[in-house]
Amino acid sequence: MKDLICIVCPKGCHLQVDEEHDYAVSGFGCPRGIAYGKAELTAPTRTITSTVRCRGGLYPRCPVKTSKPVPKASIPAVMEALNGVSLTAPVSLGQVVLADVAGTGADIQTTRSMQQR
């Protein structure tokens, strides 16, 4: 049995996951907790939020996120890949700035629009 805290929503349910019985999850408040509990012990993933450089915009950095959760182990590779991205304002919200980042299958997309300075 493994104790986990569900991070799917701010409620923070205390989960128990039984590794020996097909990762059966108890203590969840909603079905998302079941999926999280199992995934966390088999193939944990996270959505990454960060920034990329942006020229000529209101601010010199534009916030971005992965379009879906990526394997935890890929986080350093994703961050490294972001260093190579440089946008030029104007930028629109949801624009894909890097496809299939670090081979994860997820895209990097902007999370705000950036007007020109």
């Binding site: 701010p10 960060s50 950095r61 916030p63 999370t111």
Partner: protein, 428 residues
Amino acid sequence: MYDCIVIGGGPAGLAAASAAWEQGLRKILLAERDVELGGILNQCIHNGFGLHYFKEELTGPEYAARFAEKLRETGVEVRMDTMVLDLKGAPGRREVHMVSRDKGYCIEEARSVILAMGCRERTRGAISIPGTRPAGVFTAGAAQRYVNMEGWLPGERIVILGSGDIGLIMARRLTLEGAKVLACVELMPYSGGLTRNIVQCLQDYNIPLYLSHTVTEIRGKDRVEQVVVSQVDGRRNPIPGTEMVFDCDTLLLSVGLIPENELSRQAGAEMDPRTNGPRVAENMESISLSGVFACGNVAHVHDLVDFVTEESLRAGAAAAHYVQSQGWESADGEGPVLPVQPGPGVSYVLPQAVRPAEMDKTCTLSFRVSQVFGPCKIILKAGEAQIASFPRERLAPGEMERIPLPKVLLERAQAQSVSVSVEEVSAQ
């Protein structure tokens, strides 16, 4: 003369202004001191916003953009880069003093005003950390702005004091950007932030959390060179002999937020020393200033923007109702005003008063507990009589709790006051 002036274009002001528009007001002015709408959400680039309100997970800027977009579809007049400096006048004719580069110094009149100025961070002074006063001591929010918007890392080796959500989020953020976060230090025996942030911001990156510890000395002449961390006893006094020294160049403080209410105080709003915000009634209207409403972090500090939105939508709608029913004409105090008080185990409750005559079917009471509770029940009383109870598995001061207050139960009880308390439930 405006129907409504909204002070602040963060999540609270945006929601309040759109609600006032939706409820039929047409002359609305929103004054925002920054160069864009969205307030602090613009620097909160992490996700986790909107799960309650939009039923999906958004980042701060995305959440802000949805409301800014919604506001653009209305006829609300928005003045950016505009600082409100004074609030004067009388019920039905409030005067809002504001200044901007474009329009200069203006005094605008309004039937109603919505205070949505948000909050600020507590600083080193508020907690009197001994030692030297070098550069490199930042509030977590200031560091967040430097990293996420300006693209600058404040330091390489970082200690974070306080485990509020902004501190936890910054621990992860700084780590991802290549800094070494050595420790997160929390005075209390429990974290001030959401449990999921402990997991995904600290545990994911093996950042140690020291509960019941505090920073007892800052060292370094020009820039932070070391901080000393000590364990504290049950009365939060440092225990000699427990000192740990961290070699670091930066200390981030995430030691609490204070509603920004200088304007409210100047205007003469009666304040609640527990929330540091104006005392408000069930419709978020100031108890002492007719037609002045407060919502979001100016009223009390929230953990979740979703609840800010919900509260502000109510405030905006209430302001519209006030204007449409010419609330300034009716004498104050039609019908009883019942104070709502925090009982044992509760540090504050909002609203601070309810007027049954003005209430909808139910009113949401928001509160925080004063300590961590395991299995427990929330007890709602009218006068001395219990009118409802709500079981909970766990309550913590870091997580705001909300319960409904049904009008019908209140009327039936015919009491003079309402209180909320929390009791531990003994294990079977």
